[in-house]
Symmetry: C2
Subunit: 139 residues, 2 copies
């Protein structure tokens, strides 16, 4: 498979995914995984999530921003793994960008709730596969 | 939530899952994720997979056996993350244990195909969540 086709099919997979798997570096050198709502994306390069500032995941990412984000259509044997770094953001613009009706259930103080953080993941490489076809690419 | 209830609900989630997400330590300190068929499990402590010996994942796991295995029922906001180590096995007993009709599609030389390996993951701790309930446990 050509790199361009892999990226294009990977972007299609992102756009039809509600959830992504976030991989982080946990305690004692063990990887950790958590399912996250995919809130927004900017092409294949940037994936945005929101989360609680007080969460274990934010603490891990502040210590070590190296991460991966994985999308899968399990029935179709299709997957995209992006590798890159995560920034934990609390600026007004980023917080407003991801704020949705109903967010106050998780962040009762609203868009300025100190427990409301935004994660911006920026990929520098990836792998897309579909069945036995497989392509690595740099971004 | 009590530890025992979390483990019991986590085991129920494993038993109704066809796939698991395998987290490993990839290149340059970045975590990696791959969806894997859950072939067998021994309670919540051991999860078994099969894979190609020549795969990138096996190479990573031989270099660094630290891993995590994550099961999720995304619609129900339910998840189980197990943390532990993976052994790459090629003994006859392990390979026969996971061999299924149709495996010859992936391993044309049959159960003794050098490209057929078995992964045995053994967990030492875990986290189970359902909605806003959450419990950590040691195994």
């Amino acid at each position: 498979m050509e790199k361009e086709l892999g990226i294009s099919k990977g972007l299609n997979l992102i756009n039809r995914s509600t959830f992504a798997m976030l991989g982080s570096n946990g305690e004692e050198g063990y990887p950790n995984i958590k399912a996250m709502y995919r809130m927004e994306n900017n092409g294949i390069n940037e994936i945005w999530f929101s989360t609680n500032t007080s969460s274990k995941r934010v603490c891990q990412l502040l210590n070590n921003p190296k991460a991966c984000v994985y999308f899968a259509d399990l029935e179709n044997f299709e997957g995209l793994m992006l590798v890159g770094k995560i920034e934990v953001l609390q600026d007004d613009k980023s917080r407003k960008r991801l704020w949705r009706d109903g967010c106050e259930k998780y962040y009762p103080l609203g868009v300025k709730d100190p427990d409301y953080s935004v994660l911006r993941f920026t990929a520098h490489k990836g792998n897309y596969y579909h069945g036995l076809e497989n392509v690595d690419f740099k971004l």
